[in-house]
Symmetry: C2
Subunit: 338 residues, 2 copies
């Protein structure tokens, strides 16, 4: 089949690779309904993350099961499924503790920017719908696989509660999903930090009550002003740079939790500064599998519309243009039709 | 009066200072029933923390009110009181959010290793007992002022739950109070890291179920072994060095919270390592005032006996020997009788 391979910085190729097949009895192979490009794909694309050679890209996926291994019990060919970008068995102690993204058998999904994909540990990873979903819900179901699940985790880790004041650092797709998640969890005030009109508009649509367009010290000062000098009860850090992390810490009131989901690149914390700021932190790869059934339900009941985060839709063959558009910030997130 | 002043590393003097008096209408002056030396007093004593000149020492206290300012409403002369080492108004947004240790009017108490002390913001800071407590409860009531409140906060921040597995890094007085607190919160398994027989014994008495005497990598390996490779649900970090903090992170299972209460000295966290370990963290100066009524009740009902942590009792005049004994680790914690 033809699929997406990153050969080096800026070098995305849509080229021939082997068809995926069942390798272990716990595998499934799915035909993708749609796939997409993740903000984290841009790190190696921009040369900001070392690569060990050409890499099959893509870890967000939904689609129809075409084949399962002999040990697979919970999904069967013909079913529509969504899975997390973290492969997990959903039975180990870490999974049972609510952190399938640290599963003892964890693998990070790859190779999903393709027409077909092999999903290891299918029973633990995939969630099937009762029936084939309508086509217009595919983008939103795809979003649950990573970007929504990650924004949701940021809000969960930041302990957003009904009535609370939430600050969201980062107006990428994950940040926007963080806004949607905070709204679903009942936050009374959601302050989105964003400098881009189209992202501000979507943030407002997803439930943001305030937009702060300043960054750095000025952004922190505005958030402090909006919160009468107190700071936010919960902060969602959805970028992963030293600047954004420091912004998050400074926006947080003492005792607040920061849910941080942007993979930190070059971020250091000073223990004493963090101690005296008295901000709590919980981050890591999002345990999407924990939230998946609930998030898929919300989509299927049309209570949320995370799919709107895809503001560019391309045929899979044009994947390289999808990367370019996101790299140039012409697109928030690119959906690839298979 | 004669009181304790630190003039430089190792130079503790019991010397003449001005008698404390009401400076602001919100102040109280108390006659101390007992006071003590804190592990954190050893940082400047050991020259590991810069000093701006001679410093009046002591921030843990209980005693009888002798005078109050004209605005004080909730305590009156003759009452027995305990207060936190953090002075707080107990009305500001940070106090109401449960973090009086980050009160908008916060001051850190000092000068309590003395016969009398001035307590600012008396209404917000002090908690009075209904009647004069029996003399044998004075050490335990004194402990609630900081060392117990801090250990309790470590367990609270680490979200110890009934049935959970807890690891306590540090066998100083705070670590031992962390063991006691975890037990009170219903932890099923409490693993205390300690190399000293007397501290191991007290940890066991306070509810530790396992003692790990190894440190560093070996200590982590033992805790992993004791928890079937999983790690602890909650970790209490009660030291504040890079080594102890790294031990805490490595003992924690993914999704665990680390409550860190040892003031970090020279501690740096790598953002990416913390992200992938997926451990949560919450620390800072303990919001003791939040816990004080409950902890004082537990003491007055003789349900806990935190006072046992004082294994050396000296007259206040011998305070310098009290520092030496703790510095040499001959004493866990020194109580000073006034």
């Amino acid at each position: 089949m033809l699929a997406t391979v990153l050969h080096g910085p800026g070098d995305v190729r849509f080229e021939h690779v082997d068809d995926p097949k069942i390798v272990k009895p716990t595998d499934a192979v799915i035909k993708l309904s749609a796939t997409c490009i993740c903000g984290s794909d841009l790190w190696p694309y921009r040369g900001l993350q070392p690569m060990g050679g050409p890499a099959p890209m893509g870890h967000e996926y939904c689609g129809v099961v075409v084949e399962v291994g002999s040990d697979v019990r919970t999904v069967r060919p013909g079913q529509f499924v969504v899975g997390s970008f973290c492969i997990s068995d959903n039975t180990c102690p870490h999974c049972r503790f609510g952190f399938p993204s640290s599963c003892e058998q964890r693998e990070f999904m790859s190779g999903a920017q393709a027409p077909y994909a092999r999903i290891p540990l299918a029973d633990g990873t995939l969630v099937a719908t009762a029936e084939m979903p309508p086509d217009d819900l595919i983008p939103s179901l795809l979003a649950t696989s990573d970007v929504l699940g990650t924004g949701w985790y940021a809000a969960d880790a930041a302990r957003v509660r009904p009535g609370s004041t939430v600050a969201v650092v980062g107006d990428g797709a994950v940040g926007l999903m963080g806004v949607l998640s905070a709204k679903q969890m009942g936050a009374a005030r959601i302050i989105a930090m964003s400098r881009h009109k189209s992202r501000q508009d979507l943030a407002l649509e997803y439930g943001a009550t305030d937009i702060v367009s300043e960054r750095g010290e000025a952004g922190v000062a505005t958030i402090k002003e909006l919160t009468k000098g107190i700071g936010a009860d919960s902060v969602l850090e959805c970028v992963g740079t030293q600047e954004s992390m420091s912004q998050a810490v400074q926006c947080a009131r003492p005792g607040a939790m920061i849910g941080y989901v942007g993979v930190p690149h070059g971020v250091q914390f000073d223990g004493q500064a963090l101690f005296f700021s008295q901000t709590g932190m919980l981050g890591g790869p999002a345990p999407v599998r924990r939230f998946l059934p609930h998030l898929m339900d919300l989509v299927l009941q049309r209570k949320i519309d995370p799919g709107k985060v895809f503001d560019l839709e391309l045929p899979l063959a044009d994947v390289a243009e999808g990367y370019r558009a996101m790299d140039d910030r012409r697109a928030i997130k690119t959906l690839l039709r298979v």
